[in-house]
Symmetry: C2
Subunit: 301 residues, 2 copies
């Protein structure tokens, strides 16, 4: 069966700032096909979303088709604004928001994000992953960590998001390693486990010293010939360690699940292990899809 | 007297990464003229330094002329590498390094920076400011803070640099406010004293929460309509507060001098005052010039 003969019963879409991914789904929840594009929310004007979606999924459409989408596609700058639900709240909020379309067979629904009033915080997309996780692990209580550009720590209990906190750790790593004086000291890739451990240890034990430790990476490159890959790993350890220190009220004594890209999630699991906090690693795309499927099921109810 | 009739007895130069500033000096230490350019070390190949200097100071030269320079001009990527002195050491290290020149009347000497072995750290340029400060305040014991892109805290005793530590606070402020998602929330200028105080209080009391507090600025913009200038001031307070928390072993119970650009130095003085740590503010260009003059005097003495 080639891709252009596939017809979807419905379509699942994960649409973030920098790219989008779509799955053709059967009524029973089987993945029939998968495709994506780099047409992320960040580069699309409001009326460019439908053409960008059709460019990826047009061949899957044969008659009226429902699309369920999550992520930044529902932000103020997205296809349609899906107002935040307010935590504490269920992970599958009511109120999917329909996006305006011109294609006669297309009905597009966007999942709202979740906001927290105090301290002020927001998520878009992660609520769907959490929903997918709880669909697979009903009545699970604990803390879910979703590492990424903006890492989230989410306290979940009784199938609700109780509270959450965002750390800009991933974006700080990218920005510091590419845009500051440390770009001369930090390699674009490569790794060093010992340097990661040293950074992690420093970050967890003396988190307040971050801005000073950053410049040490430059000085160690100049004075001790520290390699670019060791500096890269130490920076990662330093930032993740500092985050773990601040997120301690979340994870201490809790059941922990880490959802995310495999290598980054693995770093968090390893880092938590050093703090005597065992965590389960969960594959992200499958969980996102489970969350989108749960939203579809509820819509069709 | 117009500038092109001025003849210098010697020339003082402060040559950093992004620009250079030169002063025509009389033998008695009077400033006869001042000029500068944006030909910083960062954009110059080794053989481009002499032409860049002459473009600024050529008219001041009338017979053999000594130039004393400090800053990144002495780095490995500079005009000539002036190897670091090692702390603890005097603030006016021996071993000015002569740069290669082709102009028959020009003798250029570069002041070495200072390194610290453990924890690894380096300075270039600040040693000259400290030297200038001690020339004006002989036998001064205490801590000198030099705020900037890479803020230095320097413990000075018995006319020596005992130890120091660099914080990337200024560069983090620029990078975070311009290159991350916070660029949507932070204004390019504007200020809010209350927001600065709130950030400062948060940074000094809970320094380990920096990466989480950063994202709060985004969320407060989205959910509470926080203004871009308030977000800018709160970010500044947050970063300076976090730095003060980490630098506490330096400033606690010490005599403190803050050397730097007037508005930034003022923020540090105000921030230290909230920690019951009174500090004296010192004008930077005058102190740099005093340090260059001390080096010239020692060379000729």
């Amino acid at each position: 069966m080639t891709q252009d003969t596939i017809k979807a019963d419905w379509i699942a879409v994960d649409w973030g700032t920098s790219n989008m991914r779509a799955w053709a789904m059967s009524a029973s929840g089987t993945v029939l096909a998968e495709a994506g594009s780099d047409q992320g929310m960040g580069q699309l004007a409001r009326d460019a979303f439908e053409p960008a979606l059709l460019a990826v999924v047009r061949d899957w459409i044969d008659g009226p088709t429902t699309v369920i989408a999550c992520g930044m596609v529902g932000s103020r700058q997205g296809w349609v604004e899906a107002p935040y639900a307010t935590a504490p709240c269920g992970t599958l909020p009511d109120g999917l928001v329909q996006a305006p379309t011109t294609h006669p067979d297309l009905s597009v629904y966007v999942i709202p994000g979740i906001k927290q009033i105090s301290p002020a915080d927001v998520m878009r997309g992660e609520e769907t992953q959490i929903s997918g996780f709880l669909t697979r692990n009903p009545r699970w209580d604990g803390v879910i960590c979703l590492p990424g550009t903006h890492t989230k720590w989410v306290h979940v209990s009784a199938d609700e998001v109780v509270s959450f906190q965002t750390f800009m750790t991933g974006e700080l790593f990218d920005t510091i390693s590419r845009q500051t004086v440390l770009r001369h000291s930090i390699a674009a890739d490569g790794w060093d486990d010992a340097a990661f451990s040293e950074g992690l240890d420093m970050g967890t034990s003396r988190p307040e010293r971050l801005a000073a430790r950053l410049f040490s990476l430059r000085a160690k490159g100049l004075l001790e010939g520290m390699s670019g890959s060791a500096a890269r790993a130490e920076l990662s350890g330093l930032l993740i360690g500092t985050e773990l220190a601040a997120a301690k009220p979340y994870w201490l004594g809790q059941q922990i699940a880490v959802i995310g890209d495999s290598s980054l999630a693995k770093l968090y699991v390893d880092a938590l292990a050093t703090q005597a906090a065992p965590a389960t690693q969960v594959n992200a795309p499958a969980i996102t899809l489970a969350g989108l499927a749960a939203a579809y099921k509820r819509l069709k109810g």
